[in-house]
Symmetry: C2
Subunit: 343 residues, 2 copies
DNA sequence: TAATATTGCTAAATCGTTTTAGCTAAAACA
DNA sequence: TGTTTTAGCTAAAACGATTTAGCAATATTA
């Protein structure tokens, strides 16, 4: 009982007109192709009646446009990327695009494979959270004419368009807050590597401390590897605390959340034993006890801009604005102030 | 400097062979088509050299198969669906499928539109978290020959294949735990509507209390509407507490998380003032203070089964196992026991 | 009235694969 | 030796849309 799919020729033969004419009508171009209004209406009506749904594979083959944008994130189950995906989805559908997505897991080989298959699936453009070491690969893709926009992270030395949060701003906001609350001995934690976006947050941390004439020990910049980071993070945090660190600035929600787990496990009290501020704003930061001071990126704006840019590149080959840096906002909560924890 | 895409005919003309032959080789069917091994190797080599990537639009048009599965969830930014999506993604890619996704927002009209566009984009099959009232619509789609499997929620009176958690089991586990911890006056909260899956959790709640000969007041089954549920939930929770309710069983993470927000805002202490147990296991349940007792669905199994089933339906028209009900596991934490909150 | 422009439509090529049918030459058979 | 099989390849149709070129009939202009 499988109903056959309705195609243009079904409508055409039912009305005794040509396929071309039906196509003109269905694509909304009947005026410029001088189809009489009378016929146009008839076509629309029978298309409706028959339940016509265009075959987008055929259309994609003919036009070279699929109406699909590929989205590559680090991990769709991470709340930050989940939110990004959701906003990009909204914005994309507003512009008539569907989304195909995949998670790279921060692995270069997997990342390349994903991007390649997305391209071979004829996506019109790509919105990408790039992984370490993917710069030259992505440049090659861009040079092959694939519309690409980076999001969340960028490669500043390249000409790859991007939409990112202002890491210097966010890093400064959080660091400043910790200092203003009377903490001098503070440390930051970041994943090791050349992703400039996160490094900017650390640089802002350093700059801010320098401006305030606070000395930084080398141990206060804690770099951890990506794999099995939980174990190493725990060790480093505990050592830091033993060494007298009073506060932490975490550069990513993934690190911040794991740190909370570690503090809980080791019965380290926030903010009594240690004060904390983190990038991003997952639910746990808002609802946990204590609430966690954080810097929330402008996810909506980041998402909408990335769609807008990739759409422009798709349509015009380039975008008028290919480098966008957006500021987020500081959310002061209980975790950052020992003296006034009822904030 | 836009490099043109390499196609089969490029490889063919470079080697002076026919397109068909190249196609046979590239699709791995060279043996049954009696291509000499020597030539097959040559073809593979030059395909590699030229960086050939198949045009899947063309392939989809010709074969009627796109290699894409459509995934419709309620909200990709909800951690539960984020995790589901991630697992489905893994499993799908293992079977050679890409995912196209969209969020329904629990809105029927949006849901229908999404499913229609996914179908017109030639997805081979659909994995769907259905919304209220979508049963007849989905049945029609199934009858049109679209491979569909429901996930997380099902329509038991229909023949739509599904993979879901065992709501009776989970509901019973959580309710029993609250009772066993000495709480008699407990209430549950659920979204109003005919989604049997959630209703089963409530039925299990009722059954369990009945079995224990505990009387249930009608106010103890709290039904809330989907839109603007936050306000109503707050009111209902506060009233219940005023009325002497000692504990709550929340049927979804969305409700449970919002309840935490409300308790926090109203300075209601868990488990001192009220004990709590909830379906699902978002980060906040594990890391918050107190930790929240919950029932964690078998997300991995749910996801992998749904992919397996939809794949079978795609390939064979039906699946050997179209109705799967999986049990999850109870995670006992601090929120459910007043007496022993150092659990 | 004749030349030109416009209106309303259609035919047919095209996109890049897959797949069926069939062709040729060599191998196997009688 | 002549016939049948088999191996190894190619030609061409097909998928369903879009789009260019062009045909007739009518309308407009000189």
């Amino acid at each position: 009982m499988v109903k056959k799919k309705v195609k243009l020729s079904d409508i055409a033969s039912k009305l005794g007109v040509s396929v071309s004419l039906v196509s003109f009508v269905m694509s909304g171009k009947w005026k410029e192709n001088r189809v009489s209004q009378e016929l146009a209406k008839k076509v629309q009506k029978t298309a409706e009646e028959l339940g016509y749904q265009p075959n987008t594979a055929a259309r994609a083959l003919r036009t070279g446009k699929s109406g699909v944008i590929g989205l590559v994130v680090a991990d769709i189950s991470n709340s930050f990327y989940g939110k990004i995906a959701r906003e990009i989805e909204n914005e994309a559908s507003r512009h008539g695009f569907q989304l195909m997505f995949a998670s790279s897991d921060e692995k270069l080989e997997k990342f390349k494979k994903i991007v390649d298959t997305l391209i071979s699936r004829q996506v019109d453009g790509l919105i990408i959270v790039p992984v370490k070491g993917s710069a030259t690969y992505l440049i090659r893709k861009k040079e092959q004419g694939i519309p690409i926009v980076l999001v969340d992270r960028n490669f500043p030395k390249t000409k790859l368009p991007f939409v990112v949060d202002d890491g210097r701003f966010g890093g400064k906001q959080l660091t400043k807050l910790l200092i203003d609350n009377g903490h001098q001995k503070i440390a930051t934690v970041v994943f090791k590597g050349e992703l400039s976006n996160y490094n900017e947050r650390v640089e802002a941390f350093i700059d801010t401390l320098n401006q305030e004439n606070i000395k930084i020990a080398s141990d206060d910049i804690i770099e951890i590897p990506e794999r099995n980071f939980q174990v190493i993070l725990e060790a480093k945090l505990l050592i830091s605390i033993k060494n007298g660190v009073q506060g932490f600035f975490f550069t990513q929600n993934k690190i911040g959340i794991e740190a909370l787990r570690i503090f809980k496990k080791n019965k380290i009290k926030i903010p009594e034993d240690i004060v904390v501020a983190s990038y991003d704003n997952p639910e746990i930061f808002e609802l946990g006890t204590p609430t966690i001071t954080c810097y929330q990126q402008s996810i909506k704006e980041i998402s909408s801009h990335s769609v807008k840019i990739v759409k422009e590149i798709i349509n015009k080959g380039h975008s008028s604005l290919e480098k966008i840096i957006l500021k987020g906002r500081l959310i002061e909560r209980e975790s950052s102030n020992k003296l006034n924890s009822s904030l």
